[in-house]
């Protein structure tokens, strides 16, 4: 089985994000692998370990951080890495990214494509699903468990609105994974050392055999015009001391001040 995993570089959401004049201040930001993509990498490495698979990851983006993220994937057990690095893709929306990924898929004939269900920076949750539409193959999103049935079929458990949906999927297919599918392994020192020596297949759009026009980059469907800080909720009042007394006080306020009880 050939598996492609998509990984994205995202800002470390635990750090302070500053916004000035409608834009995010780059200075001081740090980048990490999108948490859900770590789950996707873990899922493909587990499939490799348990069922035998050739695993490839692809990341769209440039810079040293992106190289580190691909290396992290290697250190977790991924075999091959592709980096699509092209400054033309700076303003890409989900549809453009999905077209780029489609080109990568078409080059490699993968049986299974695993993506995180969303990215921590945008929380869009669209790219994997659109990719499947473009490729005309099945897609199951928000997957919390996955088992191989045979060469051509997997069983995916998806968390839906009414409970767990058990879906039998014919490959090739796209699966977008939830963070509850697994606990991503921490790369070990040795793996990280080895990862440094591994080759990364870097290409721009031309090398990928496409152009900005063909991936829809000249006609993006949506663009961010401005960032602003979210209106942080103001901290209210903390009540400390005798449990019975402070609890009574808060209940009284919920009834008479907030009027929610």
């Amino acid at each position: 089985m050939k598996i492609l995993t998509t990984v994205k570089k995202v800002v470390d959401v635990e750090l302070t994000i500053r916004v000035e004049s409608g834009a995010i201040v780059e200075e001081g930001l740090q980048y990490v692998m999108n948490a859900w993509d770590e789950n996707a990498v873990e899922a493909s490495v587990q499939l490799k370990e348990n069922n035998g698979a050739e695993t490839t990851l692809v990341s769209i983006g440039g810079g040293d951080d992106n190289i580190q993220i691909i290396r992290r994937g290697y250190a977790m057990g991924i075999d091959n890495g592709v980096q699509v690095d092209d400054p033309l893709l700076a303003g890409a929306d989900s549809f453009v990214l999905a077209r780029v990924l489609q080109k990568v898929c078409e080059k490699g004939s993968y049986d299974l494509i695993i993506t995180g269900k969303q990215a921590q920076d945008t929380d869009n949750g669209q790219t994997g699903i659109i990719l499947a539409e473009n490729l005309g193959i099945p897609c199951v999103s928000n997957v919390v468990a996955m088992d191989v049935i045979d060469d051509k079929h997997i069983k995916a458990t998806r968390l839906g609105d009414g409970g767990k949906e058990i879906v039998e999927v014919t490959l090739p297919a796209v699966v977008t994974v939830s963070d509850s599918i697994n606990e991503p392994r921490l790369p070990q020192m040795r793996g990280l050392m080895m990862a440094k020596k591994k080759k990364i297949d870097v290409m721009d759009l031309a090398a990928l055999g496409t152009s900005l026009d063909e991936v829809g980059g000249k006609d993006i469907r949506s663009e961010i015009v401005e960032f602003s800080r979210s209106q942080a909720r103001k901290a209210g009042k903390k009540y400390e001391g005798d449990a019975a007394q402070i609890t009574a006080q808060v209940v009284d306020l919920l009834v008479n001040e907030a009027k929610v009880l």
């Binding site: 929380d123 199951v140 999103s141 968390l159 949506s222 602003s228 979210s230 402070i246 609890t247 907030a258």
Partner: protein
């Protein structure tokens, strides 16, 4: 006049409040509204779809649509959108909505925006706002395509008086072919007695501070007293003590009740991004430095095992 198609949010044979909220918003911006309902045995729901504020109802009612499957659901919506001539297609923030919206947008060749908190259209210009980066920033996004598919964040649009009351005009949709590449074999349904987190006026959530099943039971009793939905943090889901479907947060459910009571939850940003839209937040935590207190309107610093029984008693007293 813009035409807005709202995807009916149907769960366990009931039209959810979010349907009326989305229709109300559509009407408040002067749009012509339609709703599309997909499932099996929907006949009895039609009056509810009308009173939710729709002017026409596209109904795909078929045994084959009983269980959710993203591809055929998307086909029904594309069909309805084309027949209606929809300019905008709005989904409530449900797992099925999140799965189907990008497909519909891909098929129609239009933009898709998820988790939106507002949408404005002036002339041909559509703009949306949405939170990003775990709620730390707000994006204002310009839509370049003529049409928009959007998933609306829970609690973003409010019911208004003008929303209520539509008119009946039912259009039946042909059942689409099943997705043979992704066959839904089974639905392991959530326990039926539970109050839906999305509907609940009050949500009580437990975090790792409750420690074990006994702690959960203690707080669940408070939720039951209040007729509240019962939610949780990811730490509790990871430990296997609570089900996935109860998780509130960035990866779980986004809730915006009148009152949210967080018990033994530290307040990690991923949890906060699922509940800071609540009207009033109460936190119970024995660590005065817990970040949950930064968003709580009323913070009770104390041992939950001591506070919760008192809280129950106090609430019982006022209910008398």
């Amino acid at each position: 006049m813009a035409k807005v198609l709202v995807i009916a949010d149907i769960k366990r044979g009931e039209v959810k409040r979010s349907t009326a909220e989305l229709l109300a918003k559509a009407r408040s911006i002067g749009a012509e509204t339609a709703v599309v309902a997909i499932g099996n045995n929907l006949e009895a729901l039609i009056p509810g779809l009308v009173s939710a504020g729709s002017e026409s109802q596209y109904v795909a009612d078929d045994l084959g649509l009983e269980l959710f499957s993203a591809a055929p659901y998307a086909s029904c919506i594309v069909d309805a959108a084309n027949q209606f001539g929809a300019d905008q297609i709005w989904f409530a923030s449900t797992e099925s909505g999140k799965a189907v919206a990008p497909r519909v947008a891909a098929r129609l060749g239009v933009a898709c925006a998820t988790d939106i908190t507002d949408v404005t259209s002036t002339g041909d210009n559509i703009e949306i706002t949405r939170p990003a980066i775990a709620n730390k920033v707000i994006q204002r996004v310009k839509i370049n395509s003529e049409k928009l598919v959007a998933v609306v964040r829970a609690g973003a649009f409010e019911m208004t008086a003008e929303g209520a009351g539509g008119s009946e005009k039912v259009i039946r949709l042909a059942a689409p072919p099943a997705d043979l590449g992704a066959v839904v074999k089974e639905l392991i349904a959530d326990a039926s007695g539970d109050i839906d987190l999305g509907d609940a006026a009050i949500v009580v959530s437990v975090g790792r501070g409750v420690k074990d099943q006994k702690g959960i039971d203690l707080v669940k009793a408070l939720a039951d007293d209040l007729g509240a939905g019962f939610g949780t943090s990811r730490a509790m889901v990871d430990s296997g003590l609570m089900g996935h479907n109860k998780q509130v947060g960035q990866t779980g459910k986004i809730v915006a009740p009148k009152l949210y009571i967080a018990v033994g939850i530290s307040g990690a940003i991923q949890h906060l991004s699922g509940m800071t839209g609540s009207q009033v937040i109460v936190a119970v935590n024995n660590d005065p430095e817990a970040p949950i207190f930064n968003v709580a309107d009323y913070g009770i610093v104390g041992d939950l095992f001591e506070v919760v029984p008192i809280l129950r008693q106090q609430i019982k007293n006022i209910k008398k």
